[in-house]
Symmetry: C4
Subunit: 372 residues, 4 copies
C-alpha cells in the first residue's frame, strides 16, 4: 500500500465527472481514514441501496425542446440558489484536508451554494461563518441539556446562519465496521470544538438487567417534546433531517418544521433502511407539492440530482462527494465538484427537454412512475 | 493453506459484529472440518436462500420514539428470557472446540439464554445440564424404537430440561458435499454418547427392485402416529422443528405441539427448500398471533433477529453463529457472540423506534408487507 | 493446459452427486472436444436458461409422510421403468470414450433405463441393440428422401427398438461457436455409420439473390406432411422431440404422435429459446394429464428430475450428464451417474413427502405455482 | 499492452458470428481510440441497457414450418433491400481504418444494403456517393444557420442520396469519459470535411449567472420550427433519428417526417435513457403498423435483428458492429459482418418458423408480450 498522495493544487485531467472524485479519494487518504470518511454502518447495505436506487432510474430523452428560457435557480427559505444543490453537514473536515471547513466554506461561497455547517465541525461555527460569503445553514443535534442546545442555537443565530437543520436519525450511531477493521482511531485533533462547552451528562448507573444501549446510551435521546421545544426557541427556518417514514414526516410538519431532509444518513444509521430515493416519491405525495423537501444519500453527480428532483425533491445535498473532493483538492476540489454536478444537471436537463426546474417531474422518468 | 489457528482466550479487536464470527471461523478450523460444520447439503442453495432472505428485507427508520420503557425480555413456556434468542441444537460440538458443549452451556447460562442441547451432543445430556445454570431445552429425534425414545425423554426430564424440541425435517440427511470433497472424515471422538445405548435396528434385507433409500434407510422413519405417541408421553412443552408448510404446521398444532420452529435445517436438509424467512409470514398468519413460533436459518446478527420478529417469530435460534463463535473463542466467544446479537437487536430497535418486542411487526418492514 | 486424464476404471471419492460429472468431465477431454460435447449454440443463452430454470425452482419440505408404499416405477408405452429417467439421444459417443455407445448401452441395460439411440450414433443401431438388454428406443431425423427414412425405420423395427423419437427442432443446427473457437475439428472416426447408406441429395444451385441458408440448406427441410407420412409408416410409439410451443404440441398430438419431448435441444438449437422448464407447465396444462410428456435440457441430477415431474413431465432425459459420465468413467460412469440421479430423486421424494411419482405435482413447488 | 494489430486482409477462423467483431476490435485499435469508437457517454448505462435488452428477450422455437417461400427482402421508401439491415451513421471512419468511409461504402454497395453516410464523415459526401453502387442515405444535423443546412441538403440531393436522416438526440453530446480517461485526443485528420464550409457562429458572451451549457452551447440548438423548415425544403424521404418518447414520435409524424429511427444514440447521448428495445413496442403500437420505424442501439447480430423486427421495427441499423468490423478487416470485414448478421437472421427465421419478414411479430417472442 503506497503512501496516500497529498491533496492537489490543480485539477488533473482524469477528473471529468463528479463521481470521479469518489474514485480518486482513496488515493489521497490512508485506508483507515478513507473507510471512516466514505464508509457506512453495518454491512454497507443502505449505502449500496442509495447508490443503486439512483443508478437504476431511467429518464426519457426528449427532442427539440426550446431551451432559451433555461433556468436552474431556485428560491429556498428566501435564499436564491443558482442550482438546487447543497453541501450536507459533514463532521471534522480537517480529517480530510488540512484546511478543513475553511476550504469547504470558501468553495461553497464561491459557488453561491449553501454549506450546511455541522455542529461537529472542527472549526467554530463563528469562524466558518466569516469564511463563507454565501448562504449559511447550520446543523445540530438536540443536546441532552436544553441549555446547551439553546446556547448553540443562539450562537448560530448570532453568526448569521439563516436556516437550521436538526438531525434526528441517529440517537445512537452504529459503528463503521470497515473503519474499525482497518484500525481507524480518531485523532485528538480536529475535535468538535463547537460542543466542547457542553459536556455530556454523567451516565446514570445501570440497574441489573438493564441494557447498556437501550437504558444507557439512549437514556438522554430526544423525543418529540424536545423537538417541539426547539421549534419554539427560534424563528429561523427549521428543517428536520433523517426523515424516511411518511408518518414521521407528517408529524414533523405539524410540529412546525419548515422542511424536511429525506435521508438515511448516507447509510451511516440503520443499515437495513431503504434508499432515500425509494421513499422520496411517497413522501412528496404525502406532503403535497409546496412543502420544502430535500434529500441526500448516494447523490454522485448531476444525473442523480436530476432524478432526485424528478422524484419530488426541491434540492439535494452531497456528503461523500464533498468530503472526497475536499480530500483530493481542497477548496478547489469542492468548487470543481460543485461545478461538475451543476453542469451534469444542466446537460441532463437539456437532453431530457426540461429547461426549468419546474419542468422536472415524475413524467420525466421512464417509465412514468418510478419502478419499485 | 496454513495450519488453523488455535481457539482464542480473548476477543480480538476485529470481532465487531456477530457476523464477524462467521468470517473468522475458517481461520480456526481445518478446511474439511470448516466445511462440515458451516456448510450445507446439496449445492448450498437453501443455505444461500436463508442468508439472502434476511439480507434483502428492509426496515423503516423511525424518529424521536421515547425509549424509556425499552424492554427486550420475553416469556416463553414460563421461562423469562432477556432477549428473544436461543442456541440451536448443534451436534458434536467437541469438533469445534476442545471444551465442546461444556463451553456452550456455560456461555448460555451466563447470558441467561436457552441452549437447545442436541441429542447428538458429544457429552451426556446429564453433564451438560449440570454445567448450565440457565434455561434448559433438549432436542431429540424420534428413534426407531419407542423404548429408546422414551428412555431419552425420561433422562431429559430427570435432568431438569424444561422444553423439548423434536426435529422432523431430516428422516434422512443429505450429504454435505463440500465436506466430502474436502475429504472430511468423522473422527472416532467426539461421538453421540447420548444415543450409544440405542443401537439402530438391524436393516431388513431389500427385495429385488427395492430402493436403498426409500425402502432401506427410510424404513424406520417416523410418521404422524409416532409423534402423537411422543406427545402423549410427556408434559414438557413440545416444539416441532423443521416446519415449513402451513398444512404441516396446522396438523402439528392439532396434534398437541406447544410451538413450532420454522426451519429448513439451516440448508442441511432439502436443498431446494425456500428460506425459512420466506415461509415465516404465512405460517404466522395461518397460526394466529398467540401460538409460539420460533425460527432459525441464516440468522447472522441482531438485524436479522429483528427481521425474524417483524415477520412473526417470537424468537430465533442461531446455529452456525454458535459453532463459529465456539471455534473462534470457546465459551468466551459464544457469550460474546450472544451479547453482540443482543446489542445489535437493541440498536435496531432504537433506530426502528420499537422500544418493546411487541412493537416489532410487519409494519416495521419496508415496504409494509414483506417482498416476495 | 495439462493433457486430459484417461477415463477411469473406478469411481473416485469426489464424485458424490450427479452434477459432479459435469464438473469433472473437463479433466478427461481436450478443451476443444469438451466444448463440442458439452457446449451449446450461439452465446450459450438457452443452455444457461435451462440450468437456471431448474435451479431457481423451490420445493416444499414436508414432514412425517409415511413412505412404506414408496414407488418410483412408471409404465411408459407398455415398458416398465424403475425410475422416470432416460438417456437422451447423443451422437457419436466414441468421441467421449473409446467404447462409445457400447458402454452407454451396457450401462442403460444394467439400470433398466431406456437409452434413446441416436441416428447419428457411431455404431450401428443393430450392434447397439444387441448390447442393451433393457428397453430400446431409437431417435431419427426425417431424411431428405422418404426411402432413406423408411429404411432406417425398418432397421430399427427389425432390431427390436420399441419406441421412436423424431427430432424436429433443428432443420439446421447453429454452430457451436465455443468449439470452433477452441479449434474443434470433427475427426474421421467415429462417423454416423447408420446414415452412410443415405447420402444427402445434391444441392440445387442457388439463383441470384437466393440464400445459402433459407433456399439452400433448408430446401430439403421436412414439413408437417413429411411427419404425417412417417406416422403412417410404423406402429411403434412415435414421440416428437424439440417441442416448445403449445400450438405445435397440439398439432403433433392431432397428427398422431404418441408423446412429446419438451426440449430446446439442450441449448444447441435456437439460442434465444426459453428453458424447457419454462414452457413445460403450460404444455402439460394444454395437453391434459394423460398425454405422455417427457423433457430434457439442463437436468443435472435428481432434484431437477423431481422438479421436471412437478412441472408436469412423466420422465426426463439426460444428455450432457450422460456424455460427461461416459467421458469420465465409461459404462461404469454412466451407470453410476444414473444411480446417483435416481437416488437423488428418491431423497428429494422423501424430504418432499411424496412416496409415489403420482404424488409429485405443482403443489410440491414453492410457491404452489411455478414462478415466472 | 502490445501494439494494436494492423487491419486484416482475410477473415480469420475465429470470426464466426457478428458479435465476434466486437470482441476482436480491441486488438486492432489503440486503447484510447477503442474507447472513443466503441464506448459511450457517462457511466455507460444506456449502452449496457441496450445490450441487455436484446439479450434477455426470448423467442419461441417452431417446428416443421415450410420455408420454400422464404424471403428476407423489404421495400423501404421505394428501395428494395435484401435484408432489413442498414449501416448507421458513424463519423470519421478514417479513425478506424485507413480507407475509412471508402471501405464501408464499398462493402455496403457489395451487399446492397444502405449506408447512412454521416454528415461528420471524413470524406466528402460526393466522393462516398461515387464509391457506393447501392442505396444511398445521408445523415445530417440541423446547423446553426439555415443556409448551411440547406447547402448540405442540396449537395446530398445532387449526389444522388435517396433518403435523409436528421439526428435530433444530441443538441449537446455528453463526453465519452472512458476515452478521456484513456487520454484520447482527436487527431487533426480525419476531420469533418463536409462541414468545413459551415463555421459555427461566434458564441455570444454569457451574462453573469448564465450557464456555459444551457445559455452557451445550447443557444443555437434547433427546435421544432427548425425541423419544420427542413421538412419544407426537400422532397426526399426524411427520417428523424433519436426518437424515444411517444409524444415526440407523434409530433414528428405530424410534422411530416416519413419515418423514425428509435435510438438512444447507442448510449452516447443521455446516459440515463432506457434501451431503444424497451421503448420500441410502445412506439410501434402508438404509430400503427404502416409507419416506417427503424431502430438502432446494441444490435450485435442477426438474433437481435430478428428481435427488433419482432418488437415492431421494419429494419435495424448497426453502428458499433460496423466500426468494429471496419477496424478489424476494412471493407472485407464490413461485408463479412453484414453477411454474418444476415445469415444469423435467416437462421433465426428458420428456427422460429417465420419464412417471411411479415411473419415476424410479437407472437414470436416468449412470452408473447415483451417482458418489462
Amino acid at each position: 500500500m503506497p503512501n496516500p498522495l497529498p491533496p492537489l493544487d490543480t485539477i488533473p485531467a482524469d477528473l471529468q465527472c463528479a463521481a470521479d472524485y469518489l474514485r480518486r479519494a482513496r488515493h489521497h487518504l490512508p485506508p483507515a481514514l478513507h473507510a471512516q470518511l466514505t464508509g457506512a454502518s453495518g454491512q454497507g447495505r443502505a449505502q449500496r441501496a442509495n447508490r443503486h436506487a439512483w443508478a437504476r432510474l431511467k429518464l426519457w430523452p426528449r427532442l427539440l425542446t426550446p431551451m432559451h428560457n433555461a433556468d436552474t435557480t431556485l428560491s429556498l427559505f428566501g435564499q436564491s440558489l443558482p442550482h438546487p444543490l447543497l453541501l450536507a453537514p459533514v463532521a471534522l473536515q480537517g480529517l480530510a484536508h488540512p484546511e478543513g471547513e475553511h476550504a469547504t466554506a470558501a468553495a461553497a461561497g464561491a459557488m453561491g451554494l449553501p454549506m450546511v455547517v455541522s455542529a461537529m465541525a472542527g472549526e467554530t461555527l463563528e469562524q466558518i461563518a466569516t469564511q463563507n460569503p454565501g448562504p449559511k445553514w447550520f446543523q445540530l443535534y438536540l443536546q441532552a441539556e436544553r441549555a446547551h442546545t439553546l446556547d448553540l442555537l443562539r450562537r448560530a443565530e448570532a453568526s448569521g446562519y439563516q436556516a437550521l437543520v436538526v438531525t434526528l436519525d441517529t440517537p445512537l450511531q452504529p459503528p463503521n465496521l470497515s473503519a474499525i477493521r482497518h484500525g481507524y482511531r480518531a485523532p485528538a485533533q480536529p475535535c468538535a470544538v463547537n460542543l466542547s462547552a457542553y459536556p455530556p451528562p454523567t451516565p446514570r448507573p445501570l440497574r441489573r438487567g438493564q441494557s447498556r444501549i437501550l437504558h444507557g446510551m439512549l437514556s438522554e435521546a430526544p423525543d418529540w417534546a424536545e423537538l417541539a421545544w426547539l421549534r419554539s426557541q427560534t424563528r429561523l427556518p427549521l428543517l428536520a433531517k433523517g426523515v424516511m417514514h411518511p408518518h414521521d414526516a407528517q408529524r414533523l410538519r405539524e410540529l412546525g418544521c419548515d422542511g424536511l431532509v429525506v435521508s438515511n444518513h448516507g447509510g451511516r444509521a440503520l443499515d437495513a433502511a431503504p434508499a432515500s430515493a425509494e421513499v422520496l416519491p411517497a413522501l412528496r405525495q404525502h406532503l403535497g407539492t409546496d412543502y420544502p423537501l430535500l434529500v441526500d444519500g448516494g447523490i454522485d453527480g448531476g444525473e442523480a440530482l436530476f432524478k432526485a428532483l424528478a422524484l419530488g425533491a426541491d434540492a439535494a445535498l452531497v456528503g461523500r462527494l464533498q468530503i472526497a473532493a475536499l480530500a483530493v483538492a481542497g477548496a478547489l476540489g469542492v468548487a470543481h465538484m460543485l461545478r461538475l454536478v451543476s453542469e451534469e444537471l444542466e446537460l441532463t436537463m437539456a437532453l431530457a427537454g426540461t429547461p426549468r426546474l419546474a419542468d422536472i417531474g415524475p413524467h420525466t422518468l421512464y417509465p412514468a412512475s418510478p419502478p419499485c
